[in-house]
């Protein structure tokens, strides 16, 4: 088998192991959350017996390790359990499966993240490459200054600025991105323009600057001087000689920002009233809806691990020393 394949399989297994430890951390940190779902629902007046009975019904009377294995065992079979909310002490169970709560929200989040990524990744690569090409020119400085400005503002501020300009003063896009399951694709895209634009402005600077730095770092290499002395044009020197050696750091920073698009966009969701997974998690934490919180955090962790794994693999396969061993 090709040694690269072996390395990739090793990384995948390591990723799984990491995920296992993360699941333990998620479970135990929720154990340490102050407050208790049963008391929150039943209120101060509830008798000890009612509380105990309710706890028994939810399985909260079991020791932690048993609850952990029950939970993780079910998760491995695709069952994230059912939400706590919708239940009460009366014994009427109107709770919904966690998966039914989380899945549409996750879909929405991935849609918005996808929109932002499709715009921001090519944009930051182009800006980074051109900035490296014309480094220290007016263009380079303006791009740097502009992207730095957008990253320096808090994201809610950017969001409100965009709403002010594009919904109030010059009303072309809606300020509310309240999509639901019946919204058509076209309308979805239309409604998501402003939130996606906000996210783009937040992440472009980071990716663009990393691309520029990775390229400029390589421009001092003897093989770049060699390609200049071979009469290769500036643009080709960057694209053919520098870029192929710069993918590893660029992939890392892109993965990092993609992960942010999935797990870190609560504020933007709130501003645009967008039903994403971030909001769902915040709501569930407030209501102590443990199964939902656990499912969300596990999804976030998986996203991080998968994206970083992808970046690692890109780093490996773009390194000819690893791809074509002696």
């Amino acid at each position: 088998m090709h040694p690269i394949l072996i390395t990739i399989i090793q990384r995948l297994l390591l990723g799984l192991l990491t995920l296992f430890f993360v699941s333990i951390i998620i479970f135990s940190s929720i154990e340490f959350l102050p407050g208790d779902f049963t008391q929150a629902i039943l209120g101060q007046a509830a008798t000890e017996e009612t509380v105990a009975a309710f706890r028994r019904e939810l399985g909260l009377d079991q020791p932690a390790y048993i609850r952990y294995f029950d939970w993780i065992g079910a998760v491995l079979q695709g069952d994230f359990g059912s939400s706590f909310s919708g239940r009460n002490s009366s014994g009427v169970d109107r709770s919904r499966a966690v998966i039914d709560l989380v899945a549409p929200r996750l879909g929405n989040t991935l849609f918005l993240a996808g929109m932002a990524a499709i715009v921001s990744i090519p944009l930051s690569l182009i800006l980074g490459i051109t900035a490296a090409l014309y480094r220290n020119s007016i263009y380079d400085r303006s791009v740097n200054a502009l992207t730095l400005t957008t990253i320096s503002f808090p994201e809610f501020f950017l969001a409100y600025l965009l709403i002010l300009f594009f919904s109030s003063l010059w009303p072309v896009f809606p300020s509310l991105a309240n999509v639901n399951i019946d919204t058509s694709l076209g309308e979805r895209i239309y409604k998501c323009v402003l939130p996606a634009l906000t996210l783009t402005l937040v992440i472009v600077a980071h990716m663009m600057r990393m691309t520029r730095a990775a390229l400029i770092n390589l421009l001092a290499s003897p093989y770049i001087e060699m390609s200049q002395l071979k009469g290769i044009s500036k643009a080709k020197v960057i694209l053919r000689h520098a870029l192929p050696n710069a993918w590893a750091p660029i992939a890392t920073v892109i993965a990092f920002n993609l992960a942010y698009l999935v797990v870190g966009v609560v504020v933007v969701e709130v501003v645009f009233v967008y039903p994403g997974i971030g909001q769902l998690m915040v709501d569930s934490v407030t209501t102590r809806d443990i199964p939902v919180v656990q499912a969300c955090v596990l999804i976030f962790a998986t996203t991080y691990i998968l994206l970083n794994l992808t970046a690692d693999i890109i780093g490996i396969v773009t390194n000819p020393r690893l791809l074509h061993p002696k």
Binding site: P222, M226, G231, N245
Partner: protein, 539 residues
């Protein structure tokens, strides 16, 4: 085949009163201070001088190119009738890679690790649409064959890290040759190679330049190498031209004192004297680095007292590892080191201060062997405190004595290493070793980083100290000229084993074991016919 081609064409490159400045330490420094250079079609000119002479800068300037931070301030450059000073970047770019090609010193760093060798070889030709891809690639394979690269039809499919340094260097010559340039700049192309590899590369480069009647500037600090390659030699120093003459004339009768001094280290020769009184004996030593395979195989070396034993061999032959075993930095797997007949403890930490004192080391790079934040007196004074418990005025007097021994005056007492030249730094390192009053000094490539003249000074100093204090040297080097100059005995190493040991006269004369023969034959000689004769003998 003759190196000197008399049927020169018309003028290809003409540079007049070139001045180049470089920016460092917040100000502009003059690098080239007004040099004229005229090169005819098909002519090979050697540019020679010590480091800092401006050879590479001048070579690059002939393309109208300067390194970042440098600029051509005045003068004129005409290449094939075209004014390169007036030409804009685009016009110069049209010449580079097609009419003028460049071959760099470090082939390993000058090939892009991300692309196959064949693609890089033909890149310049395809870039200008000089040839179609298939024609250019077929031609490249043909060039590989002429440059005697193994498996010429397939080697181009490899990546740079998959071939050896000598192969890469020939590959770069093929890359330069692909568009059939009028002029190739060779910038120290064999400096990073072992002598045995260097010969192959020199032969290949010379043949191909001759075959296509390409003009070349051959930049090097090695006079013997340039004698094989060039029709004309230009000697540079401190950015000025010292002299220029046809190769044979220059070798026979150099005019300037400076040029004569470039020969001097090769005329230094110490008469050998045999001895059976061994100060160090290395017995049956096998050694390996942590987790690695064996790098020394059953090494036996006897070092006679008050003599110089030179250890020669190419990189990776185990020379430095042997030194590490003697000093205790590396514990041997089996075997031991005897000092005056007593076995030394294998590990450094088990050796007594007295045992440590007797063996001192001097390193190749004096720069990194000294703490840049300590003054010379602190550097030299430390072993005086450590081994001899000298303090105060006693120590001060001894430091001044040591400085005198290494021919530096007392003004150096309070100076820092950064204020010293390369040769002066190496002298301080010698003083530091002497401060311990050692019986043996191990010199690991101590002159490799120095220019010829400075080298000679250091070698003479070492010889004088040996006579005065009866010091024993173990001299590790790959430079046969240095070996000739200072050794009594020679140890030849190859792939971690001793090929032979004996008196200089014995090793340097037949019959030779195969490897010694190859090594000795590969050392370039001043004779401009040397390479030609070597090739002829082979056929």
């Amino acid at each position: 085949m003759s190196t000197e081609r008399d049927k020169k064409g018309d003028i290809l490159l003409e540079m007049k009163d070139i001045r180049v400045e470089g920016f460092s330490d917040e100000r502009w420094h003059k690098i080239i201070k007004g040099i004229d250079l005229t090169l005819h079609r098909g002519q090979v000119m050697g540019l020679i001088g010590e480091s800092g002479a401006g050879k590479s800068t001048l070579g690059l300037a002939s393309m109208g190119f300067t390194k970042p931070g440098c600029k051509i301030t005045s003068g004129s450059i005409f290449f094939d009738g075209q004014d390169l000073i007036k030409a804009n970047d685009e016009e110069k770019r049209m010449l580079w890679g097609t009419k003028i090609a460049y071959v760099a010193q470090s082939a390993a760093a000058s090939f892009n690790p991300a692309h196959r060798l064949l693609d890089q070889t033909v890149e310049a030709s395809l870039n200008r649409n000089l040839q179609t891809k298939s024609v250019a690639e077929a031609d490249a394979r043909n060039l590989y064959e002429q440059l005697q690269l193994p498996d010429p039809n397939n080697i181009g499919d490899r990546y740079p890290h998959q071939v050896s340094g000598g192969q890469l260097q020939r590959m770069m010559t093929a890359m330069a040759m692909s568009p059939r340039p009028e002029l190739i700049i060779f910038d120290e192309p064999t400096t990073a190679l072992d002598v045995t590899t260097q010969v192959e590369v020199l032969v290949a480069m010379r043949n191909i330049v001759e075959k296509f009647n390409t003009a070349a500037l051959y930049i090097t600090h090695d006079l013997a190498v340039v004698a094989q390659m060039a029709d004309v030699i230009k000697v540079l120093r401190y950015g000025h031209e010292v002299e220029e003459a046809k190769t044979r004339e220059m070798l026979v009768s150099p005019k300037e004192d400076y040029t004569k001094s470039l020969w001097s280290v090769r005329s230094l020769e110490k008469p050998e004297s045999p001895s059976d009184d061994f100060v160090i004996s290395i017995n049956n030593v096998d050694a390996a680095y942590l987790g690695g395979s064996k790098v020394l195989h059953n090494v036996n070396i006897d070092i006679p007292r008050g003599r110089t034993v030179a250890v020669v061999g190419e990189s990776g032959s185990g020379k430095s590892t042997t030194a590490r075993v003697i000093t205790g930095l590396l514990q041997p797997i089996t075997g031991s080191v005897y000092f005056n007949g007593e076995a030394l403890p294998p590990a450094l930490k088990d050796r007594s201060k007295e045992q440590l004192r007797r063996v001192q080391m001097i390193y190749q790079s004096a720069d990194t062997a000294m703490n840049p934040r300590q003054t010379i007196s602190e550097i030299v004074g430390r072993p005086l405190e450590f081994y001899h418990s000298l303090y105060g005025t006693q120590k001060q007097e001894r430091i001044l004595e040591l400085l005198e021994m290494i021919e530096l005056d007392e003004s150096f007492y309070d100076r820092f290493p950064g204020e010293l030249s390369g040769g002066q730094k190496q002298r301080v390192c010698i003083a530091r070793a002497l401060a311990a009053d050692p019986e043996v000094i191990i010199c690991d490539e101590v002159t490799s980083a120095l220019d010829q003249i400075v080298q000679e000074g250091i070698l003479q100093l070492l010889l004088r100290l040996q006579q005065e204090f009866n010091i024993t040297y173990l001299f590790i080097t790959h430079d046969i000229a240095v070996v000739q100059a200072i050794s009594d005995e020679i140890v030849v190493m190859y792939q971690g084993a001793v090929v032979e040991q004996g008196l200089k006269s014995k090793i340097m004369s037949p019959p030779y074991p195969d490897y010694t023969k190859l090594l000795l034959k590969s050392v370039p000689e001043m004779d401009p016919n040397w390479l030609t004769n070597l090739v002829d003998k082979r056929d």
